[in-house]
């Protein structure tokens, strides 16, 4: 099966940038958490204080799941790392499956492969082998992080296995989506919706009383129920094994039967002309991005609504002043009040709005790589106007995401009788924008200067800045070094006041970078794929 092996190797190579980025993230995160915990909570007393207050906080379970043991370094790491990275592995599995199984097909390369002597079954198995290789790399990276962070080898291997067990299940979801969807984009949307549902089930199970059973309905819940370092239950591994086998088998059966380049769902190949939003390149770009922007806004809004609803479970009872200071090291600030909690979690909307900017710059780059930009620039279209139009759409989308998050968090809190001021919550939303605009400007500059790698660089910069904000102070880095990341300069609105000077500086940096981007873009050649 030489050709199949070549195909698998090709798929692994195609995915290398994503795999390596995820592996770095996994290794860094799983190294930092045990080290940081030991540093911040050196004594049993301090750990007990942490466990009884911060750890029992239902709102935090949204991200990390249900804690089982917060008094040991390993138990804390299992809670803090396992839950978060399981979400990342879910995304990884989906992306890997759609890339290996559908992107090749959409580009027409798979026709070339199947026109050779390779049977379909081998092509499918080659794609699976490539995804499996990615999962093994993630497992090794996470394991290495834990062991370097001082956790025992056996338990770390099991914890990393629990996290990575989500990959094959979500790859199965992605593989099945690839069989139904008529194109890669639709496959990603279908698979993304399914993974979002699986995440929502875990969130409800971990935060709402009486819904704990829902954990058994989602691979993210299974990863928790494996209970690494607390009360290991390796038999639970049968669930992801059976589920992924069933999903991948079903997808494989369909893949062997369907026409290549099509899905079980019909593609709409023709339509009556709709002439709205065709007046300018910017209008047309908005038309193309509309669906994606609605998904971003709705997704962020739904998340904000949930956060608002559960913010009423926050109380400051029993938290000592000294513990609160310790909590501040985790970046949590005055998390023990609903307003503090909302302010704490809104850093994730700063992140979302920043990533949205990167995604829009990436979409602009796609228009260049696919050649449509040349079609436009051969018309009387000014380069700077084209790029500033795309940046305008990105900025507008960031405003929509941020403000709707603020308003929906307010609405969610109000529905539970938590009274936050609507104006302050709007401010909390707007507070996400300066950092997002900074990153948008920097992403545009990266794109203008290094077109092929610009979007990836921007994503990497946002991820690095965000991680540094999470762990910089935990590791005891000096204040000025922590403050280098824009995320550290975002005030915790509504718990704190909006920091106008910091916001002005961030917006100014973003504007300067955007201006430099326009100038650099005006001077360079168009660059193909």
């Amino acid at each position: 099966m030489r050709p199949a092996r070549a195909l698998a190797a090709r798929a692994v190579r195609d995915a290398r940038v994503r795999t390596i980025s995820f592996a770095y993230l996994f290794a860094a995160y799983s190294y930092i958490q045990p080290v940081g915990y030991r540093h911040a909570y050196p004594t049993r007393a301090s750990r007990l204080g942490f466990a009884t207050s911060f750890g029992e906080n239902r709102a935090l379970r949204l991200f990390y799941g249900e804690p089982h043991d917060l008094l040991s370094v390993s138990g804390y790491s299992a809670w803090r790392v396992g839950g978060t990275l399981a979400i990342a592995t879910a995304v990884f599995g989906l992306l890997a499956a759609v890339r290996a199984m559908r992107a090749e097909e959409d580009s027409g390369r798979m026709e070339l492969v199947l026109a050779g002597a390779l049977p379909r079954r081998s092509a499918y198995l080659a794609a699976l082998a490539a995804i499996g290789a990615g999962a093994v790399i993630l497992w090794i990276a996470e394991l290495a992080g834990f062991v370097l962070g001082g956790l025992p080898l056996g338990g770390s291997a099991y914890l990393a296995l629990a996290t990575v067990s989500v990959v094959p299940v979500c790859a199965g979801v992605g593989a099945l989506a690839c069989q139904f969807a008529p194109s890669r984009r639709v496959a990603l949307e279908l698979g993304g919706a399914a993974v979002a549902l699986l995440f929502a089930a875990r969130v409800i199970a971990d935060t709402a009383s009486g819904f704990g059973w829902l954990r058994w309905a989602t691979p993210l819940g299974w990863a928790e129920e494996l209970r690494p370092f607390a009360d290991p239950r390796p038999l639970v591994l049968a669930l992801p094994a059976v589920a992924s086998a069933a999903l991948l088998f079903a997808a494989g059966r369909i893949a062997a039967r369907r026409d290549i380049g099509t899905g079980l769902l019909p593609a709409r190949e023709s339509a009556r002309p709709r002439l709205a939003l065709l007046g300018s390149p910017t209008a047309q770009a908005l038309r193309g991005q509309r669906a994606s922007l609605i998904v971003w806004t709705a997704g962020a809004g739904a998340f904000a609504l949930i956060l608002g609803v559960i913010s009423n479970s926050i109380s400051s009872a029993g938290i000592s002043k000294s513990l609160q200071r310790e909590l501040a090291k985790l970046g949590a600030g005055s998390i023990a009040t609903p307003a503090g909690y909302i302010a704490f979690v809104f850093i994730f909307f700063v992140l979302a709005a920043s990533l949205l900017g990167c995604a829009q710059v990436s979409a602009a780059r796609h228009e260049e790589a696919d050649g449509q930009l040349e079609t436009l620039l051969a018309l009387p279209v000014d380069r700077r106007r084209w790029l500033s139009g795309r940046l305008g759409i990105a900025a507008g989308a960031a405003v929509a995401v941020s403000l709707s998050a603020g308003m929906l968090a307010w609405a969610g809190a109000a529905s539970q009788g938590v009274h936050l001021s609507a104006a302050r919550m709007l401010e909390a939303g707007a507070n996400c924008l300066p950092a997002a605009l900074l990153f948008l400007g920097v992403a545009a500059l990266a794109y203008a200067l290094v077109p092929r790698a610009g979007a990836a660089l921007a994503y990497g910069l946002v991820a690095a800045a965000f991680l540094w904000q999470l762990v910089g102070s935990l590791l005891g880095a000096p204040r000025w070094l922590v403050d280098l990341t824009p995320f550290a300069n975002v005030a915790a609105v509504p718990a704190q006041h909006f920091r106008a000077p910091a916001a002005a500086i961030m917006v100014a940096i973003g504007a300067l970078a955007a201006a430099a981007a326009l100038e650099a873009f005006r001077r360079r050649d168009t660059v193909g794929a």
Binding site: A267, S270, Q284, T375, A378, P380, V381, R523
Partner: protein, 305 residues
């Protein structure tokens, strides 16, 4: 080109390097108003690079290019009001239908002849309600051609526009270019399909490895080049003494093909001593002119297109 005639396209020492590769080497080109100019060269000879420079998509490493007296790079937007372009593989927006694409391109251009557009849609048998993603390469090319031709731009820049078209549509394309010519539009047609250039073009430039190796009217190029003489002998072809300016190659049973540059007297004298059944002489096709420029030493032809 004579002085005083306003050139639609003019380049002077136009040069483009990509890293170490010299894609276009000091190109001097002039296309007058109303001309149909054929731009010939094999893949990778620099045709598309030239067009990218003319359209201000890429910036010259040296020299300059002008459209209508406007600098191609600096005044690109102004110049493009009078230009329509069809790429070799047109990149359009997969989610738009053909009709939406035509409308979008017309609005961005700011001017289109809607009546003529309908004529073209009919002529090219365009399926207007189909989405671009559902169209084959040739059908996408038809959309781009209709958009460009219906703009009635003063200059049409066409980069291998028929590479995906079937023979019927090639006829439609030729009719449309001749109509454009009648209206006084200037056409810059890059191609490696020689019959197309022969049928349409007033003048031809031949590009090889980034250099313009020849240019002129078809008549001028023929004058410069060989005659082709096929001679069928009564028996096995004789081996002739080498003659200067004559190449010979077997061409089927008992037949030799001679290519003669300059006078044919020497060859006729040599043939007179043999029994000949038929002798056919003709002007070389553009294909043969083309091959003449690229045969033998084509190993170094690899500049990016």
């Amino acid at each position: 080109m004579g002085a005083g005639v306003a050139a639609v396209i003019a380049t002077e020492g136009l040069t483009k390097r990509y890293g170490d590769t010299l894609a276009l080497d000091s190109l001097d080109l002039s296309v007058a108003q109303g001309e149909v100019y054929g731009y010939l060269g094999p893949n990778g000879s620099g045709k598309t690079t030239t067009i990218r420079l003319l359209l201000g998509l890429h910036r010259p490493s040296a020299g300059r290019a002008e459209l209508f007296g406007l600098d191609s790079w600096r005044d690109a937007v102004l110049a493009h009001r009078r230009v329509a372009y069809v790429a070799g593989e047109p990149s359009l927006w997969p989610a738009l239908t053909a009709a939406e694409t035509l409308e979008f391109l017309a609005r961005v251009r700011g001017g289109v002849d809607p009546v003529y557009r309908e004529v073209l849609v009919e002529r090219f048998a365009l399926e207007s309600s189909k989405k671009i993603r559902a169209l084959s390469k040739g059908n996408r090319q038809k959309v781009a051609l209709v958009a460009a031709l219906s703009s009635r731009a003063d200059l049409l820049i066409l980069d291998e526009p028929t590479s995906g078209l079937d023979p019927l549509m090639e006829v439609a394309f030729r009719d449309s270019v001749l109509e454009a010519k009648e209206r006084g539009q200037t056409v810059f047609l890059s191609s490696h399909i020689l019959s197309e250039v022969e049928a349409l073009c007033d003048r031809v430039g031949i590009l090889r490895a980034g250099r313009l190796v020849d240019s002129g009217t078809l008549a001028q190029l023929r004058h410069l080049r060989a005659q082709v003489i096929d001679v069928t002998f009564a028996g096995a072809p004789p081996s002739l003494e080498p003659l200067s300016g004559v190449t010979v190659a077997p061409n089927g049973h008992n037949t030799l093909r001679f290519e003669v540059t300059g006078a044919v007297e020497g060859l006729l004298a040599a043939l007179g001593r043999h029994r000949i059944v038929t002798l056919r002489s003709r002007e070389p096709s553009l294909e043969e002119i083309f091959l003449h420029h690229y045969d033998g030493s084509s190993g170094d032809v690899h500049a990016p297109g």
